[in-house]
Structures are given as C-alpha cells and as structure tokens.
Symmetry: C2
Subunit: 391 residues, 2 copies
C-alpha cells in the first residue's frame, strides 16, 4: 500500500491508546483485599492451603471433572503430565501450529516432537494424518485445542487406542469449552489448562492438569511438590509447581464471573464477524454445531490475492493505528531453529500449517474490551481493504 | 522416657497453639494494597512488568551482584542453571544433606547425582572429599550452603578449576549472607536463591539465579520465558519460570525490612544458644569468623548417649507440647528410594551425613517469633533433659 494511503488511514482511524489483543479480567480490588485479610490472618501463603483447596474443588465442579490438580502454570502442567505417564524418551506426535510451550516441554522431557499437519478449517492437528507418523518410538499424541476449538477427539482416540498411545490435550485455550455435551477436559488421558493472565479464566499465572484415575492424580500431586508424600517420606523426583494462595484468591473471584466473561467475548466475536464477513479474502474460525465455545481469541486468515493485502501488511497497518494485533502462531514451531532439522519439520510435510501460519492474525478480544474499539479495529481493516480495492 | 514423665512435661509446658519452625514475614496489608492499586491500574500481571523489573534491580543492589534473574521458584532456578550451563547428562557431585529439590533437579535434567560426604561442623559438602568422586562423566559440583552456612568455597573452586568443572551453589538458605566480605551469591559459576514463604526473604513463592556474564544472563532470561527473544523469534526450548507482579510487590515490601528480620532472628538464635549451651549432648552450628549469618534456621544436633534422649524422642516430646520441630534433613537424599541404589548412596560412603541426619532437629525461628515462645521451647528441652538425667 502506498505510504500516503497508510498515512491517511492512520490519520483517520488511529486509536489514541495502544490496544492489546487481550487484557486480564480483574476482580474488584476490595473483594481481592478481603481474601488477602484471610491470608494475612492465617499466614499460610502456599503449599495446598485453604484457598488452593477451595479453588481446586470449585474448578472440579465447574469443569465437571473428578481429578484436577492446580499447578503454577500450564507449561509445568504439561511437563508433569509427561512425567506422570512415564514419557521421557521416544517420540510424541504433535502440531506445529501452537505456542512454543507445547513443543518445548517435549524437548525438555527428552522426547522428540513429530510434527503432523493441521486441518485447514479448525487449525487443529489433522487427526486423519496422525497414523502416518507413528513409529516404534511413538509414545503419545499431544494435541492442542487451538484457539479453544476442539480437536477431532473421536478420531484421535481411535488412533491412540489402535496403536496403544497416550493422548494428552493442551487445552490452554479451551477453559470452559464443551464438546458434544461434555467438558473439553474430559477427553484424552490428560488435559492441561492454562490460567495465565491473558486467558479466559486467570489466576495471574497458573494452570491445571486433569487426569482420569486416583492413582494418576496422586502422582501428579507428588510430582508438583518435590515427590514428598509425608514429612519424612520422599517417593520420587518431583519439582515445585505449586500455585500460591494469592493466585488461588484471584481465581476464586474470577470463576463466578466466567459466564459473563464468555458472553462479553461472544458479543465481540459476533461484531467482528458481522463487520468483516463481507470482505473477500478474510476467513474466520468455524462456528461448530456441537461446540460451546469460549471465544478466547479472534483469529482471522488473510488471503492476500483476494483481500489485496498480505497478513503482514494488514498487521503493520493495524499497528500503525495502535492496534497490537498478533501473528499467533507464526513462526510455526517446525520453523524454529531448534526443531527445523527434524524430518517432520519439512514444509513439504506441513503444507496447510505453512499457509495458515502465513495468513493468521489475532485481533483484540477480552471481556472488558469496548464495543466502540471493536468497531474502530474493523474500520481500519475495512479502510485498508477498500483502499486496495479502489486502486 | 516414661509416659508419666512425658505427660507431666506436657501438662507443665504445652503451648496453647501449635508453633511452626517458621512463619512468613508479612508486610503491612495496607502497603501491599497500595502496590495492588498500581497493578489494577496497569493490568500487567506478569511477564517482566514494572514491579518485577524494580525488584530485580533492588536485589542486585542489595546482594551486590551484577547479573540476577528473578524466577518463579528456586527449584526452577536450579533447573535453568543446569540448562544454561548445558548440563543435561553425566554426573554432578552434590551433598545428600539437603532439601529434595537439590537432588531432584539433577534427576529431572538427566544427570546422575554423585553423593559426597559432609563436614561434621558446617554440615556442608566436605570440599576435601570432592576430588575423590570425580570421573570422566563429572560435569559440575552442586553444593548447598546448608542452613545459610557458607561452603568451603576456596577449596571447592580450586577443585573445580583443576578438573574443569562448573560450580553451582544452592543458596536457598543463604539470602543476605556474606562470606569473607563478599555476598555469598558471588561465589561459583551460578548461585540459586529461594524466596519461598518460609525463607528469610520471601516473595510468597519465588527464587532467583545469579550468574557471571551478560551472555549467561541473557540465556537464563530466554530459558525462563519459553526461549522467546522477540515477538516472532524463538531461540531455544525454554519453559515458564516467570515471577508475577503480586510476588514482586511482596518482595519489594519485604526487602527494606530484611536487616530487622535478620536482627530479630539473631536475638532468637542467641537465646537458644544461651539456654541450651549448658546441656551436654546438644551441639549447634558454629559461629564463624568470616561469616555474616542470616540465622535462617536453628538446627541442633542431639547426641543420644550424652543427652539421654534420641533426636526422635526429643522431636516427639516437642510435638506433644505443640512445638512442630522438623527433622531437616532426614531422610538423607541418599536414603530416598529413587537414589538409594546409586553406588555413592551407600551409607559407608556417607558416615558423617548419616550421623548428622540422625541427630539434627530444627527449632522454631522467624522474625516475629515471640521471645517468650523461644523460652518455652527451651523449657521443654530442658525438662526432657533433666528428666532423663534424674533417673
């Protein structure tokens, strides 16, 4: 786009303050301070104290699951999932279209990631291609419900059952999502949740691991607390992945507001769709029949030849206008230096992920985002589109 | 001891409320809430935000060190230290007399711990025995400044230099300690600090890693934040070991009070020494000339044949009296199931550590502990001692 055109759009549409793709939902400070008074009275700041116990209970209820362990973040939850399933070597089949944590935990755990291409509609791992990547070294499938859209859990489970593999879901984006009438965390052998500040449900930093058996749950609780089972008994090598009381309090106040948070996000999502739908060359995540979504991200795909601008050009324009859109997830993890030499990282193995990663752009969405700002973001995109069209 | 005697001591001396070995020092809630107001305004909850940056700066100043990275806990700090020094296989020489985290991080990192016996006076690794454990697989020495007492850093460094090994110090107990006029964190290639709730300086949960070069510091900061160096650049496999703003605020309020915290602990330590000194069979940590101590723990050694009670009997008596004394560190890590089969874990290799672990008992000590409570604890120990003597 010509510089003069960009300057005109910036002049007309630039936001006065920078707008991020997401901001955390804050409870009322007074409510938070009430919880702090209790913490100050008890002087128990961490180590499975009362607020931690209460939040674990409430989350089990809300998510409709029996075994859930709170952990200090989602990354450590995945590390502990691998350890709890005794996966410390061999290969795990995963998606390249994800946040770095998914792939890095495999590497930290001594496991080789094997990248499988994605489904172009859901952006998730293409379940039908997983079997083609299985070798004698394959231990598990680590799939991600990217942007909260459920993976094809039925096909993934069928493949896993047939080949005797574990299924671990990275559900970092999928808090509160339901699929076919069941909580998303009920699928697979284990499911990881992230409660980072930027997530739909947040505990400042934090996460959880959902599993299926009391034995798994006991082991996860050992692994997150140094493997200590009693004052003088250490069972196995564990680390410190404890969630503190300050984070638990934050979560306890956010949890009752989760439905309204999701409803606000849904409204924003609908505005984006209505405003942007008419522009050829933009594509959105599908609205799926059997999914209760959480609207955690609003990614768009920019098809250069139809839209008239590349994703990077649109991203630059938005940033010039003070909208901090994000190229989630670019680069693909298969393009990252430490993984690029893996045979499965070859772009020829991942043609759809390559296209997706070059077209995707995430727009601002969070519960307290002003509707007027959503329209401003759409105005900028529309102005860019029209400007290219009218040449 | 006879049950009737125990009952009499309990009747005379039992504390009305349970007393722990340590309780966290809390800043004033109003001061903490002031910091929270800033967090609520900025809505940046984590990821190297302003309070995090400020605490890192203040800690560098207070500790007199150039390169320090805040991390979410001491265990992850040690894991990142190993990774930053490319230690992911082979052997590391370490002490069995420590909290499980020290040994577990080696195991999690693919490294075999090699246990070396301890010095019976300082309870630290016996520096003169380290060379005898070096093999072609040895990568480093992981020594612990147990209970804040400095290791024999000169001999350790000389051995390391001679054999080309890294030296990593677990300084979890040693915040604020000075040795030979220098901050304790200035010794070795890297030093880990823990800021857990029970430490002299606390950030609820938290820790730090001190290193020597800008390149190491950059790498540590990459490793704690997913290996992400810029929005679209991922350098290497990193994890999430970020300290959040709520913890940074807690630390910022505790740091200016550290001198008074240490002074209070020193007073308590002196009372214990004065009261217990006259009882044969009890031994304490030495008061060392070149050490500015932090009085983080008050361990005593109970020699059964001289004192008339075993350590376990004294521990039971204290607990009957509502004093939650702790057997730090028992079991030795060489006695823990996952390490007991290692050749270096043989009790014959660790005779002094075995004795130490069977004799040690930690008494309550923390800044706000009442002097009257310290005397009550001493009364109980004295009553037990006299009761055995008068038989």
């Amino acid at each position: 786009m010509e510089q003069s055109k960009i300057a005109e759009i910036v002049r007309n549409y630039r936001l006065t303050e920078g707008e991020y793709v997401m901001r955390p939902t804050m409870p009322a400070l007074e409510d938070y301070t009430s919880y702090l008074r209790g913490i100050w009275d008890r002087r128990m700041l961490t180590n499975d104290a009362v607020l931690h116990q209460e939040l674990e209970l409430r989350l089990r209820e809300y998510l409709g699951t029996e075994y859930l362990a709170l952990l200090s973040n989602g990354t450590l939850a995945l590390m502990i999932a691998l350890r709890a399933l005794n996966i410390d070597a061999g290969e795990v089949i995963t998606t390249p279209f994800t946040f770095p944590a998914t792939t890095h935990v495999l590497s930290w755990s001594g496991v080789t990631p094997v990248f499988c291409d994605v489904d172009p509609i859901t952006f998730n791992i293409d379940a039908t291609q997983i079997a083609g990547h299985i070798s004698s070294r394959t231990k598990a499938i680590l799939a991600v419900h990217v942007f909260g859209t459920p993976c094809d859990t039925a096909v993934i489970q069928a493949v896993a059952d047939r080949y005797g593999l574990y299924v671990i879901y990275d559900a970092a984006h999928a808090f509160g999502v339901k699929y076919r009438g069941r909580s998303i965390v009920e699928y697979g052998d284990m499911a990881m949740l992230s409660f980072h500040a930027t997530k739909v449900f947040s505990t400042i930093e934090g996460g959880a691991l959902v599993c299926r058996t009391p034995a798994q749950n006991r082991r996860i609780k050992l692994l997150k607390d140094f493997g200590i089972s009693a004052e003088s008994e250490v069972i196995e090598p564990g680390i410190n992945a404890k969630l503190d009381e300050f984070r638990a309090a934050f979560g306890l106040l956010n949890l009752p507001r989760i439905e309204s948070e999701i409803a606000s996000r849904k409204r924003i999502s609908l505005i984006y769709r209505e405003r942007l739908m008419g522009m050829p060359g933009l594509r959105f995540l599908p609205v799926l029949d059997e999914v209760e979504a959480n609207f955690c991200y609003f990614p768009i795909l920019v098809n250069n030849s139809e839209f008239g601008m590349t994703r990077d050009e649109l991203n630059d324009l938005l940033r010039e206008c003070n909208v901090m859109s994000r190229k989630y997830f670019c680069p693909l993890m298969s393009r990252v230096a430490c993984y690029v030499a893996l045979p499965s990282a070859s772009p020829a193995n991942l043609p759809r992920a390559e296209i997706l990663s070059n077209q995707v752009l995430c727009l601002p969405i969070y519960g307290t985002l002003q509707v007027s700002t959503v329209h401003q973001v759409c105005d900028i995109i529309e102005a860019g589109y029209l400007c290219q069209r009218c040449r």
